[in-house]
């Protein structure tokens, strides 16, 4: 096998979004040599898409806010399935994480007295979201990026080398976490680095480091309609599985009720919740405001029964009840889904979200400038004159790597850490808006800190990655070019012959794009927003077929910036993660947060205590490519600490906790 370049670092961070960059800054500030590796250009991570803000109980607008209230809101939002310790740390540390951004140059919108302004958002009791207009994510990523650059400038002034202690390997992909060579068994072996390829040249290289932080974001690209970018192929989730770590809560996927559905170019792109908050209404193809038919019994007292009453709420919320368009995200998404299935959808498979008949054009432009701009530029739709077409879109995965709450260390794999969307537990079954950016900062910093400490402790005895693993990883990455082919890093062309029949016992080669499209279709239809046992079983069947077909996916051309090849490699990750989602969703026989079962529509207190844990089945290779690769087990959650439980009223806890849990103290 060809020689593969190796670089030595102390900490390797996979992903350069909010969590990855925050981790990198922390590790570097602790004095460790830190490498960041990301699939896109530096500063393009999906974090830029976040609009609303960063939730932190600074109490700048309402001084009644504090971390306890934030903790309470977070637990309620997650239907008490959150890892309570993570939710506690998150609520306690978020303000410090926001304030330090200012010392790095961030410019948030201000209050009258010059402090950081905070805005209201769904599920948050007080105005809590630090924001910059509706581009908070961009501000976050740019601030962290510029902080990294400033650390590089410090190093340059000291050593003459910008990249002496922190380097960004941009447009590179990691395909395997490497571990120290043991006696074949994986158990307890330490992480020793990452196997990567450069997207531009296709060249392989290894980053050797005792500590690796996963900060790769989510999995949305396994679904057809998603607000996520192409990078969200569940890389970190899959890398963790393959390295021997577990995933929890994978059944919880947040579907945002209003994504654009038309035109195709923008399908899935988010339409912000404030459209409805400011008076936008949902109508079906018959022109009916259908949400009135979908108010569940538990919410009946809080929501308006007539259009007249609902319309009155905007002006006079004290004597009128809220319009049903403002029900929780999952309720609205379900209702839209039902209308479309009943044949009352819009021409392109959504429903109508209308502000044009509700407000004067000038008001719309003032209150919803970015939505006005988004629809005008992307869809050629003037929202002041015509309704938008919207439908549910896959937005966020609550599930992720099973980590220690305090250190962000992945359980069972020494040296592996995870932070941000790729880490599981923090948000329970449903994430509140604004809590993702604060999550990135709080746990990004913690992951960087503990990875640095861990790496420092390993300094005298760095784990080594053997050549065998590297060769195996290289062979795996080259497989899409066909068997026994070893195209050079640049220039070698035409790995497969024109007939495309290359491997798999003479069976035809597969187009990775086609496999991907079918995967997205299957997940969207069968493990989407509303789930049924039969459909999920079928999804698992189809995933088996797709696994087998993905094994035959081949690509043309050479390794230089070859998107077909990149996709073929990402398929492995998407298939693993999709299997986790489907298996866990099939197993959890209740509805909670981001997991809605048509056949089990109620929340079940017994399930509150349970995490479903996915792990890789051992020796799956022996049983063919169709065989399931994921094992699933149920695990009890640790009881919530007493002082935290006391933050809630007993009547509220009864809804979530079992009698046994309530009386155990």
């Amino acid at each position: 096998m060809a020689h593969v370049e190796r670089h030595q670092w102390d900490v390797v961070i996979i992903g350069a979004g909010g969590a990855g960059l925050r981790a990198a800054i922390e590790a570097r500030e602790r004095g460790l040599r830190t490498a960041v590796i990301c699939k896109s250009l530096f500063g393009k991570a999906h974090t830029v898409m976040a609009e609303g803000g960063i939730a932190a109980s600074m109490g700048n607008v309402n001084d009644g806010d504090n971390w306890q209230v934030h903790f309470r809101d977070t637990m309620r939002g997650g239907k008490f399935l959150n890892q309570w310790r993570m939710a506690e740390l998150h609520a306690r540390e978020a303000p410090d994480r926001v304030w330090e951004l200012e010392t790095w140059g961030a410019l948030f919108d201000r209050t009258k007295d010059g402090r950081i302004s905070q805005r209201n958002f769904g599920g948050h009791e007080y105005p809590r979201l630090a924001h910059v207009g509706d581009r908070t994510g961009l501000e976050l990523i740019r601030t962290l990026q510029q902080k990294v650059v400033s650390l590089q400038q410090e190093d340059f002034n000291e050593s003459g080398d910008y990249e002496a202690r922190i380097k960004v390997f941009q447009e590179c992909t990691v395909t395997r976490i490497l571990k120290e060579d043991g006696d074949g068994g994986d158990d307890g072996a330490r992480v020793s680095g990452a196997f990567c390829y450069e997207r531009e040249s296709g060249r392989f290289f290894v980053l050797e480091a005792p500590a690796v932080v996963l900060a790769t974001g989510g999995i949305g690209k396994s679904f057809k309609v998603t607000s996520n970018s192409w990078e969200y192929t569940g890389d970190g989730h899959a890398l963790a599985l393959l390295a021997g770590a577990s995933l929890i809560n994978m059944e919880f996927v947040q579907f945002h009720p209003t994504g654009m559905v038309w035109p195709p170019s923008v399908k899935g792109i988010l339409v912000t919740e404030s459209v409805r908050g400011d008076g936008g209404v949902l109508r079906n193809s018959e022109g009916k405001r259908f949400m009135f038919d979908y108010v569940p019994d538990v919410f009946k007292e809080k929501y308006a029964e007539s259009e007249q009453e609902a319309d009155g709420w905007y002006e006079d919320p004290d004597t009128n009840r809220r319009p049903p368009e403002l029900l929780p995200r999952d309720e609205v998404a379900r209702a839209i889904n039902a209308e479309v299935k009943a044949g009352r959808g819009s021409p392109h498979g959504g429903v109508f979200l209308d502000v044009s008949t509700r407000m004067p054009a000038e008001t719309i432009k003032r209150r919803l400038p970015s939505m006005h701009h988004q629809f005008r530029e992307l869809a050629d739709v003037d929202i002041t004159a015509e309704p938008m077409e919207v439908g549910p879109t896959c937005h966020y995965v609550m599930g992720g790597v099973d980590v220690d709450s305090d250190t962000a260390a992945a359980r069972g794999v020494p040296g592996l850490f995870a932070a941000g969307e790729v880490a599981g537990g923090m948000h329970g079954s449903n994430r509140l808006g604004g809590n993702s950016l604060s999550d990135l900062l709080v746990f990004g910093r913690r992951a960087g800190l503990h990875a640095a400490e861990y790496a420092r402790a390993c300094a005298h005895e760095r784990p080594a990655a053997g050549a065998e693993q590297v060769d195996a990883a290289a062979a795996e990455a080259l497989r899409p070019f066909g068997e026994a082919q070893e195209p050079g890093a640049a220039g070698a062309s035409g790995a497969t012959d024109a007939s495309g029949a290359s491997r798999g016992g003479g069976r035809p080669a597969e187009n990775p794009y086609a496999v991907h499209q079918e995967l997205q279709q299957s997940m969207n239809e069968l493990v989407g927003i509303i789930r049924r046992e039969e459909e999920m079983s079928e999804a698992l069947e189809r995933l088996g077929d797709l696994r087998e077909r993905a094994g035959r996916a081949t690509v043309e051309g050479h390794r230089q910036f070859n998107p077909g090849w990149h996709l073929a490699l990402d398929l492995r990750n998407m298939l693993l993660v999709s299997e986790c989602v489907a298996r866990a969703a099939l197993n959890r026989t209740e509805s909670r947060g981001g997991h809605t079962r048509d056949d089990y529509p109620e929340m079940d207190r017994e399930w509150r205590r349970a995490n479903l844990v996915c792990a890789l089945k051992a020796a799956a290779e022996g049983r063919g490519e169709r065989a399931e690769r994921i094992s699933l087990r149920r695990r009890e959650m640790p009881p919530i600490r007493k002082d935290l439980l006391e933050l809630f009223e007993k009547e509220e806890l009864i809804k979530y906790l079992t009698d046994e849990e309530l009386t155990s103290e």
Partner: protein, 262 residues
Amino acid sequence: MTTAPDTTSYDAHFKVWRGDVDGGGLEDFTVEVNEGEVVLDIIHRLQATQAPDLAVRWNCKAGKCGSCSAEINGRPRLLCMTRMSVFDRAETVTVTPLRAFPVVRDLVTDVGFNYQKAREVPAFVPPQELAPGEYRMQQEDVGRSQEFRKCIECFLCQDTCHVVRDHEENKTAFAGPRFLMRVAELDMHPLDAADRQGLDRRSTAQDEHGLGYCNITKCCTEVCPESIRITDNALIPLKERAADRKYDPLVWLGDKIRRRRG
């Protein structure tokens, strides 16, 4: 999900530049276009159906990340923000990589120049006396810098700026509109303490970042997908601020006197 009605589909003619640093040229494609699509959709369709190894950079597909910069019919644009409906159906749409940067492959260029320049602009200097959480800034004082922070770093302004587009040799001396705007952003930041470290951002704009090369011909402003008024709000004010320092004896004298007093 229903699909687009067939009546709105048509076949469009595309010329896409394919090749690498060793050479290349425009290749002809005929490709299906559906209602409501943008150029990036068409490039993706080419990848999925005709040219699976066609290299293109993209990410958010919503005009927020600034990855899919290219030139369409000779004009620097974001592929994801250029609707097909702006073209005549019979028109051939030409897509090339950015022409100011070294080409890597097909529509992908090496934008390392921009990252190099980003490193050369000294970062925000926090005021020593303020702890995190003690920053107080008024909205009107952060407004100007906030406009510049809308920048999505698509580098279209860097690409279109003739100072480097037409003169490779100027790349060492000239930071380009995006990073001169970064200097302006920091100079207008209400709490930046660079001057207390002896760093005069106004003079360095001219001495180290090549502000004098800018002849304010406004192409950067024309191509900015975020509609940032780069020339009027960043570059010209920066030129005026540099003039304060270097060409205005009254201001110079005033500063001298004030400094001696303070």
